[in-house]
């Protein structure tokens, strides 16, 4: 293994500053197992798949692939071991509390996985004749109805592939609506506390982005916003609850002002979990809002996706929604595609993706929603908010909570690095949490708070789990305030110590070069 894992742990290497100085021949530490790359252990002739027939001869002339591709293969036993060993180097919700603010890392029910794998959902082709996929359309339609009802909106575009793709959908609806009105408004207003995707989306769609100022208590400054509105403003993008974990009290007034000035209101629905079943964005004057099914409706994050970002729309924007979409006519579901759009949906801004969106996420989200029901979803929001406030108030004596004085938070608790010992930062607290067996909270976001720490416990944590987390974070905060040097080198017990991100960016190695 030493020869294979050339840059990995070696027996002669003295692990200075680690948990202890003992080394092993393999580099393993009992259940903490090192794993080489497939390129170091696989071979070009090795395979984990058997076929019933030999490869028939092909006559493809000059197009035939002759040079080696360089793809290593492993037998099935080696493959299972490789990926199982890799998996054990990951933290996950299944292992413990995952308080990543604005990411809503809640439990992923396994019934959802089982349902998504039913052949009628998993083994159907998106271009099958419509009469052969009525059950799949039924899922899309049923989920759409739930999303419309839960948000109090007019309709929903189901095809966006993730949150940022949903933002793009909403922004394109706004563009199309302005175009239909014959107006050329070029500016989208976005608060500084917004997710980076908001300004990036507006720019990607060709808008100019301007900041909306915030008040000292962490909310949109309504007076300043009103002052900026005018004939060049296409709309605003506002996250509600916002990324400081606060509900935008003036949301309705903001919407009314934007509408009065001829603009539209986009709401970033990343934080819908805090209000699902308790507040309908439609009652707040929102024109478009994406819903991250992988957040509020618990489709698994999968180490960075896939996501899914349906967008609910107001009556004003609904005519511009993208293709395709599902309608119900009597007992029959119909997919409205390009050919039928002319008569049924002439103002659509077009298509955003091949096929119909993230079906595998729709089945999971619908299963989750049906399991909870209207009463369970309301309880979700209440418990998520209760858990976050419990964390906020339990730690406010040791960590600076910049907006705690302005009232309760919603689903996430925001702290700053104020009051830590000289030389200690939010990063040290985050890395200390790793040693305590937790994934860190979101750090250095939102940008409006110095050294921000955004904690979102979600509703699927028990009080006992929260108490232990609070104890751990309290202990680390005290160490950071007292300047414990061991904290600067944390994590000590993770599969890796702090990684050199500067080196990675300066000399990028993005593929195996062996």
């Amino acid at each position: 293994m030493t020869a294979l894992n050339r840059a990995g742990w070696r027996p002669e290497m003295n692990v200075a500053g680690g948990a202890d100085d003992t080394t092993t021949f393999t580099g393993n530490r009992a259940l903490m197992l090192e794993e080489a790359l497939i390129f170091e252990i696989g071979g070009s002739e090795t395979t984990g798949v058997d076929f019933d027939e030999a490869a028939p001869a092909a006559d493809l002339g000059a197009l035939a692939r002759t040079a080696p591709i360089g793809l290593p293969g492993l037998s099935e036993s080696e493959t299972v071991r490789h990926y199982t060993r890799l998996s054990r180097q990951n933290y996950a919700i299944d292992l413990g509390l995952f308080p990543l603010g604005s990411c809503t890392m809640k439990h992923n029910p396994r019934l959802n996985e089982k349902v998504a794998r039913m052949p009628g959902f998993a083994d159907v082709h998106p271009l099958q004749p419509q009469e052969t996929v009525q059950g799949a359309y039924a899922v899309i339609h049923e989920l759409a109805e739930w999303l419309i009802t839960l948000t109090g909106m007019h309709s929903v575009a189901m095809s966006p592939k993730a949150g940022a793709h949903g933002e793009l959908c909403g922004i394109l609806c706004i563009k199309a609506a302005l175009e239909a009105r014959g107006e050329d408004r070029r500016v989208i207003l976005v608060p500084e506390s917004a997710h980076g995707t908001n300004p990036a989306t507006a720019a990607f769609a060709g808008f100019t982005v301007e900041d909306i100022p915030a008040t000292e208590e962490g909310r949109v400054d309504l007076v300043a916003l009103k002052a900026r509105l005018g004939p060049d403003v296409a709309g605003v993008m506002i996250t509600n609850p916002n990324t400081c974990g606060l509900f935008e009290r003036d949301m309705k007034a903001i919407s009314d002002a934007v509408h009065a000035a001829g603009g539209y209101v986009y709401c970033d629905g990343a934080n819908f979990n805090a209000i699902v079943g308790r507040v309908r964005p439609g009652d707040l004057g929102v024109d478009a809002m994406h819903i991250n099914l992988h957040k509020t409706f618990s489709t698994p994050h999968g180490g960075g996706g896939p996501g899914s970002g349906p967008v609910v729309l107001s009556e004003a924007l609904a005519p511009f929604a993208p293709l395709p979409f599902v309608t119900k006519q009597g007992e029959v579901f119909r997919l409205i595609e390009e050919e039928s759009a002319g008569e049924d949906h002439p103002q659509t801004f077009g298509r955003m993706t091949a096929f119909h969106g993230q079906m595998g996420m729709f089945t999971r989200a619908l299963t989750y929603i049906l399991s909870h029901g209207a009463d369970g979803l309301k309880q979700v929001a209440e418990d998520a908010v209760l858990n976050a406030n419990y964390v906020l108030r339990s730690l406010a004596d040791v960590l600076d909570a910049p907006f705690a004085a302005s009232g309760p938070c919603m689903h996430e608790a925001l702290f700053s690095d104020k009051g830590l010992a000289e030389g200690f930062s939010t990063l040290d607290i985050a890395k200390g949490l790793i040693d305590e067996g937790y994934h860190p909270m979101t750090v250095y976001f939102p940008l409006v708070v110095h050294g921000a720490m955004l904690v979102e416990p979600t509703e699927t944590e028990s009080k006992a789990a929260l108490d232990q987390f609070i104890g751990a974070l309290r202990s680390i905060a005290m160490r950071a305030k007292n300047g414990d040097p061991a904290l600067k080198a944390a994590p000590h017990f993770a599969p890796r110590a702090r990684l050199d991100e500067t080196l990675a960016a300066r000399k990028p190695v993005l593929a195996w070069e062996g």
Partner: protein, 452 residues
């Protein structure tokens, strides 16, 4: 409620700690007019696992699954056999329920997997580097066009008529709002590609030429000359691959000089899933890496000198650069990338080549058998595992009649190009290793009967 661990006693104790009298006190910032007191009316309450499974199972049974009988659909989504271990491994909680690897010390599993995925994709597509994946092939295709605009500072993109019509629609939608100029059109029913004509159209305003390989009609062609023409004119050649298994048998676009290669990785590991989630592949030459969209994983060392992996070059991305980012994309398609990577590891080079050869052989067999039906011919001069049949009549009604006979017989060009009557007799037929000789015989017999 089985997913909510708090008890009423817990809730009361926690409210006391917070100093609130009731849960409503925590929602005081919500204006009264927008506050709902009880559960939303007219919606059902919570349900047991058994009840939900029963409901969803009934819906699932209302669709005809591909595996239930003869099945010949492709056109951007292909049905391949996925080894059982793939699904087992991607359901490990440490992969399934992890987040984006922003804390690399406790995400080396995901990061190393992404590094392996990027390396596999780059090698398969014949490029230097690949990113950690995009939403799907169609959105990756538009991102490639935008990237070419950034690199060349030109705005005219020439799209081959053989590009998947959905991919073209996505590009058209976006171009309407970004000011990019697209030159595109429907395919014509010819045996070969339109690439020579495309090469003639490249000029000093052209940012890129986009070709699909194999194309929407299943045709394959050599893009070497087109690449040279593009590069001589200062434009980029973007190749789109919607069936990556093909690259086990035919030359990669990178080998033939493509600058950016994007694709749909669904064929490996992911399954049909009614169109999503899929996994977008995005690869290019090293010199363009800082203009790439999406996440990238790179190798580095930790504080003890051990090899490790991190997300890198993030100054391209929205969470750092906001409105100046290369794209608004945030998420990748992590779990689907994992499935792709595991399947590719199981196949290995030898397995991929054999799988590709079997696909091609099976497709040749089907093409010969179907073309022997009176009035039916194969359009393509060459193909991998998908080809276009020309029927003596419009293909769309034929498809529905075949479906009544429980045969899913391909994708009609009438479905893909509803406004182009000139294409209505075309039927795109895909034949993978999952198709048996008996399936082919059943399809041929049914088609013969329908056309008689």
């Amino acid at each position: 409620m089985r997913y909510l661990p708090l008890t009423n006693d817990d809730r009361a104790a926690m409210l006391a700690t917070i100093g609130a009298l009731s849960i409503d006190d925590l929602f005081v910032d919500v204006p009264a007019a927008a506050r709902l007191d009880g559960p939303i009316a007219d919606l059902p309450g919570h349900a047991s696992e058994l009840a939900v499974e029963r409901h969803m199972g009934a819906l699932a049974r209302r669709s005809r699954a591909a595996g239930d009988g003869p099945f010949f659909l492709g056109a951007g989504a292909y049905r391949h056999h996925v080894p059982a271990s793939v699904d087992h491994l991607i359901q490990r909680g440490e992969f399934l329920t992890a987040y984006t690897p922003y804390q690399p010390e406790i995400a080396q599993g995901t990061l190393q997997m992404l590094f392996e995925f990027q390396s596999q994709v780059a090698r398969l597509l014949g490029t230097d580097v690949a990113n950690a994946s995009m939403y799907d092939g169609s959105t990756a295709c538009w991102e490639a066009i935008v990237m070419a605009r950034r690199i060349t500072k030109r705005t005219k993109a020439l799209l081959s008529t053989g590009l998947h019509p959905h991919y073209r629609s996505v590009a058209r939608t976006m171009a309407k709002y970004t000011g990019d100029v697209l030159v595109d059109g429907d395919p014509t029913l010819e045996a070969g590609t339109d690439w020579a004509a495309l090469a003639d159209s490249v000029d000093k305003e052209t940012s890129c030429v986009v070709v699909q390989y194999p194309d929407i009609l299943g045709r394959i062609d050599d893009m070497t000359k087109l690449a040279e023409t593009c590069q001589a004119a200062g434009a980029l050649l973007i190749a789109v691959v919607t069936e990556p298994v093909a690259l086990g048998l035919i030359k990669s676009p990178g080998e033939m000089g493509a600058d950016i290669v994007v694709g749909e990785g669904q064929s490996l590991g992911v399954g049909l899933q009614f169109g999503g989630p899929y996994v977008g592949l995005f690869a290019c030459k090293t010199k363009y890496v800082r203009q790439m969209p999406g996440r990238l994983c790179g190798e580095t060392v930790d504080a003890n000198g051990k090899r490790g992996f991190v997300l890198t070059l993030s100054t391209r991305e929205q969470h750092i650069r906001r409105e100046k980012a290369t794209s608004n994309i945030c998420t990748n398609s992590g779990l689907c990338a994992l499935a792709f990577s595991i399947h590719m590891t199981l196949l290995g080079e030898a397995g991929l080549r054999q799988l590709a050869a079997i696909n091609h052989g099976r497709a040749k067999l089907a093409a010969a058998e179907l073309a022997s039906i009176p009035g039916v011919s194969v359009l393509n001069g060459s193909f991998f595992n998908e080809f276009t049949l020309l029927l003596p009549t419009a293909a769309r009604p034929v498809i529905h009649k075949l479906a009544e006979m429980d045969i899913l017989g391909g994708v009609s060009l009438g479905r893909l190009y509803p406004d182009n009557a000139g294409l209505e007799n075309g039927l795109v037929v895909a034949v993978t290793e999952t198709v048996t000789e008996a399936d082919i015989a059943a399809f041929a017999a049914a088609l013969k009967e329908v056309l008689a």
